[in-house]
């Protein structure tokens, strides 16, 4: 019986105006999305490969001497992802540039041609279409499914038979879900076809399974709105009223709530700006290194503080650690102590950077958690995780870049051991390496230098990141279903 009701619902929906309108709108949006993303992906890939090759070329130029490899600041860019067609996850505004030497990695930065001021909404991707437009369509299919039938008088007829109410409800739910699935699947297929038919684009098995899981996730999210429609429809007597309530709920949860949560978070977490180090307070000369780059005042101050502390107590790393002249035979020099001191300073600096970076992340994740009152944001986060894009990927990439820096240091250390003329003091001071030969000056084979290679999330890891959000969506679904069930049981069909 459920099947029959579902069939009837689907057929009725299929011939309705709202279905044809939404199918038209959604499929054309998906098509545009496919076209735009394929184009954007091509452009970004081109940029990415030119820059990566430039970086490798420059690294090859440094291979003439081992110490130059260690000190060369490699420029690593974030690789564009094809799956950003599904969920771009603010990739345009997230950091995409990392500079790393064997000793330290700068904070991630944003570089490139995208201008953030022009994008009011996030980019055009599946998630945007589904979370805003398909969810709206899903509501439109169910707002009158109970009270509309009551108005027509057909609900009485149905319930006058032996069909239990829960079967009617399930049938209607299934019918609406099938109706929603049609534009979803059609749209996804169209956009995939457009993407795949363009040159330079390949979809591997992992990408297929990821897009499939995003499709399932989307169904879960859309089911939320179908159920919401059923709940409201079975609590109101007139379909026009149901529509008004649904629109309000939709607007509030999908559009207003994310913005509101954002601003509330901003107000509650605004920190007073720290003052930059000034000449008077003794930190100034230590902050000169940080001043060359756009560094926030607070970070400048903390970097200067640790540097000052280290240099003030330089004697504890050995005699004359604070002194250096270019002649290695100068008795005032103490190379091992100097190297210890410089390593300690860099380590302390790295710790400050790490700490600062962690605070940035805590802020960003806090903001995300605030916004998860809205199901649209929950869905967006889960889709981002499944597609392997967004903030998690950035964080992981930065971690990998840092690990790569450490690997490079190990590599330099092992190569350095082969040179008998080197002092074997792997320290982050360039002049030490140049004039004392603290690190070997021998050429290295470019092919054996480790190169940076990003490791993507495996599907399992992505799922683990998304599991909380998926659970949240499931819970919401169950709650709404229970709500729909209870209110329909008590619905007055007269």
């Amino acid at each position: 019986m459920i099947r029959r009701i579902a069939c009837k619902e689907v057929i009725e929906n299929l011939v309705s105006l709202r279905f044809s309108l939404s199918l038209l709108l959604i499929v054309s949006l998906f098509a545009v999305c496919g076209y735009v993303s394929a184009d954007g992906y091509r452009e970004l890939s081109r940029d990415y490969w030119t820059r990566t090759n430039e970086n490798l070329g420059a690294l090859r130029g440094q291979a003439g001497a081992l110490y130059r490899v260690a000190f060369y600041g490699q420029e690593i860019y974030r690789k564009p992802k094809l799956l950003s067609i599904c969920a771009e996850g603010d990739e345009k505004s997230l950091p995409n540039f990392f500079r790393v030497t064997a000793f330290t990695a700068d904070l991630p930065r944003v570089k490139g041609r995208a201008s953030s001021a022009l994008f009011q909404f996030s980019s055009l991707d599946w998630v945007l279409i589904i979370s805003l437009i398909l969810s709206f369509a899903a509501m439109m299919f169910t707002y009158d499914s109970i009270c509309g039938e009551k108005e027509d008088g057909t609900l009485r007829l149905v319930l006058a038979n032996t069909i239990p109410r829960h079967q009617v409800l399930l049938g209607k739910y299934l019918g609406a879900m099938i109706t929603v699935t049609i534009p979803l699947v059609a749209g996804m297929l169209v956009s995939l076809i457009i993407v795949l038919s363009s040159r330079e684009v390949f979809f591997d098995a992992a990408a297929w399974s990821r897009s499939l899981s995003i499709a399932c996730l989307s169904l879960l999210y859309l089911s939320l709105f179908v159920l919401l429609g059923l709940v409201v429809s079975s609590r109101t007597g007139r379909s026009a009223n149901a529509m008004a309530i649904l629109l309000l709920v939709w607007v509030a949860s999908v559009i207003l709530l994310p913005s509101l949560c954002g601003i509330v978070f901003e107000i509650s977490h605004r920190e007073p700006a720290a003052a930059e180090p000034k000449p008077g307070d003794g930190l100034w000369q230590w902050s000169l290194q940080a001043r060359n780059e756009p560094t926030p005042a607070e970070l400048q101050r903390r970097l200067a503080e640790v540097a000052k502390e280290m240099w003030d107590n330089n004697e504890k790393f050995g005699k004359h650690a604070g002194y250096m002249s270019n002649d290695v035979n100068d008795p005032g020099n103490n190379p091992p102590a100097r190297a210890r001191l410089q390593n300690a300073v860099t380590e302390a600096r790295n710790e400050v950077l790490e700490d600062y970076h962690n605070r940035l992340l805590a802020q960003a994740f806090g903001r995300r958690n605030w916004a998860c009152l809205s199901p649209a944001v929950v869905y967006q986060r889960a889709a981002e995780a499944l597609a392997g894009t967004g903030i998690h990927r950035c964080v992981r990439l930065y971690r990998q870049v840092k690990r790569y820096g450490a690997d490079l240091k190990e590599f330099v250390r092992s190569q350095d051991l082969e040179d008998p003329r080197s002092l074997h003091l792997i320290g982050p001071e360039n002049s030490m390496a140049v004039s004392w030969r603290a690190i070997s000056h021998n050429p290295v084979d470019f092919d054996v230098i480790p190169k940076f290679q990003e490791q993507d999330f495996t599907l399992g890891e992505s799922l683990r990141l998304a599991v909380l959000d998926i659970g949240l969506l499931l819970l919401l679904n169950l709650g709404l279903f229970a709500g729909a069930f209870l209110s329909f049981l008590r619905y007055d069909v007269r």
Binding site: R18, F121, I133, F136, L256, L260, R270, A273, L360
Partner: protein, 519 residues
């Protein structure tokens, strides 16, 4: 007759469920949004005042002219609570320096790069989203609904002309939707004015008045869109579906598509191109500076000691004549070159920015298909938070910088006076040199030692004295007030657009209703 229809329709609308829900939602949402927005404004104002005060204090304590490098800030707009515009996305501050001309940065964001670009949250969001939906909901069954109930036949069987009926409906819509608009505005204003940091001047009230009119005009446009569909469709359900899809198009599809289309049609050049041009200019600057040959070897003794100054600068507290003269010659030729190159560097930045502005204006034009985007534009312009207000600010900053450069040039005799770099007077410098020369010319060791002693005591005594700050009595302080006339001029096309849209839509409604089959 028109009035009677309007009255009846108005009363009927007031009693509908959808109207109550919509109006209550407007009031409640405003009551939730406004305190948060007011708190946000207060915080931003506090930050701004602290920044400005800090800069002023530093300016008052600056000791030499070359260290006058203040930062100026754009005050947050009071009405940003009504329309946030780009206030949170663009950087509203600029550093005033001799060798750099400030320009708007649109590609870089300050602060945490992991935070997503904020979707704007303001009072106009409620109008854009909630009131516009309400307008469609009120309008969708105005004609088609009456046909379904059979009352349309009755009305038209009398002597009432169709245009009268339509005008009556329009009037009723205006009155009905005026209620939530007024409620929202009044609630917002009451909450905003209760916040102690908010003070509204005459210009702000004028802006608010215009915002109110724009909101009414926009709501009417949305109502007429609904009315048009109601005149076109036979069944009210169909007219509602059409109206809501039109809304989705206007609210979500058009603004996004406009921006995407604009970025495709007028793409920005890669940043590397700009960077390489800047690099080339910097190189030629370095060449020209290298050509400035000042003979420091003529300086007999390099004697100077300095201290930190305001804005992270450095000044020479005591300096001998030879050193001072060499520095003065150096500055007199090098600083004008730097100032000149600042303009050339700015030129490159400005050209790159012009490309962005072209893209932006194209996007704006494309988005004007949607009344929601037009309305958003008008509100941001009137609130003084859109891109042009930032342009205006940066223009003023540039004017301020040239004033300041001119001021320093005059005060320091074309960057060549001692006060440009040193806190001591020329007499002190001459005295230092004289003592040195005495010491050198002394015949025996005992005489040398005694003069050295005098010199060192003198030097110490001078160093112990605090250098007085410049004072800057006649300094051209930075003043910025957003200009109402300018914003109005910018807003006129969009305001007119709303009026025209209203007229055109009414014409279309008339045409559609004239041919409407009432059976």
């Amino acid at each position: 007759m028109i009035w009677k229809i309007a009255q009846r329709e108005f009363l009927l609308n007031l009693m509908t469920f959808k109207f109550v829900v919509g109006a209550v939602a407007c009031a409640v949402l405003t009551a939730v949004f406004m305190p948060i927005l007011a708190a946000d404004y207060r915080q931003r104002l506090e930050t701004y005042s602290a920044d400005v005060a800090r800069n002023e204090a530093e300016l008052r304590s600056v000791k030499v002219y070359r260290n006058i490098t203040p930062t100026v800030y754009r005050p947050p707009a009071v009405l940003s609570a009504f329309s946030g515009g780009l206030e949170k996305q663009l950087v509203g501050e600029a550093k005033i320096e001799l060798d750099q001309v400030p320009e708007l940065t649109v590609t870089e964001r300050k602060g945490n790069p992991y935070l997503p670009v904020l979707s704007v949250c303001d009072e106009s969001l409620i109008f854009k989203i909630v009131v516009s939906v309400l307008a469609l909901l009120v309008a969708y069954d105005a004609i088609a609904g009456e046909r379904e109930q059979g009352t349309l036949r009755l009305i038209l069987s009398g002597v009432t002309a169709r245009r009268q009926v339509l005008l009556g409906k329009l009037l009723a819509g205006m009155m009905t939707l005026g209620v939530p608009v007024i409620i929202a505005f009044v609630t917002a204003l009451v909450i905003l004015l209760r916040s102690p940091s908010v003070a509204l001047g005459g210009a702000e009230w004028a802006r608010l008045g215009l915002m109110f009119l724009a909101s009414l005009g926009f709501t009417l446009v949305m109502y007429q869109v609904g009315l048009l569909f109601s005149c076109l469709a036979h069944r009210s359900a169909a007219s509602m579906v059409l109206g809501l899809f039109a809304w989705i198009l206007f609210a979500i599809v058009v603004p996004n598509a406009g921006v995407h289309l604009a970025t495709r049609l007028r793409p920005l050049g890669p940043q590397e191109e700009k960077d390489s041009r800047i690099e080339a200019i910097r190189e030629s600057l370095a060449q020209e500076l290298g050509a400035v040959k000042v003979d420091y070897s003529a300086v007999e003794r390099f004697q100077k000691s300095g201290d930190g100054d305001a804005f992270g600068g450095w000044y020479e507290k005591l300096i001998d004549q030879g050193w001072l003269d060499a520095e003065r010659r150096d500055n007199a030729s090098a600083v004008p070159i730097r100032v000149r190159y600042a303009d050339r560097l700015w030129d490159v930045e400005h050209q790159a920015l012009a490309a962005f502005f072209r893209q932006r204006s194209l996007a704006n034009w494309l988005c004007r298909i949607s009344p929601i985007s037009t309305y958003e534009n008008v509100m941001a312009l009137l609130a003084g938070t859109d891109l042009t207000s930032f342009q205006h600010f940066i223009d003023r900053v540039r004017a301020h910088r040239s004033q300041m450069v001119e001021y320093i040039r005059q005060k320091t005799d074309n960057f060549s006076s001692a006060s440009f770099l040193a806190g001591c007077t020329e007499q002190d410098a001459a005295e230092a040199t004289r003592l040195f020369q005495q010491e050198e010319q002394a015949q025996d060791d005992a005489g040398k030692a005694s003069i050295k002693d005098t010199r060192e005591t003198w030097w110490k005594r001078k160093m112990a004295q605090t250098t007085p700050p410049l004072g800057l009595q006649d300094f051209p302080w930075f003043q910025y007030r957003p200009s109402l006339a300018r914003d109005l001029q910018q807003a006129v096309p969009d305001l007119l657009g709303l009026v025209v849209a209203n007229v055109v839509l009414f014409g279309m409604c008339l045409a559609a209703f004239a041919r409407y089959d009432v059976r």
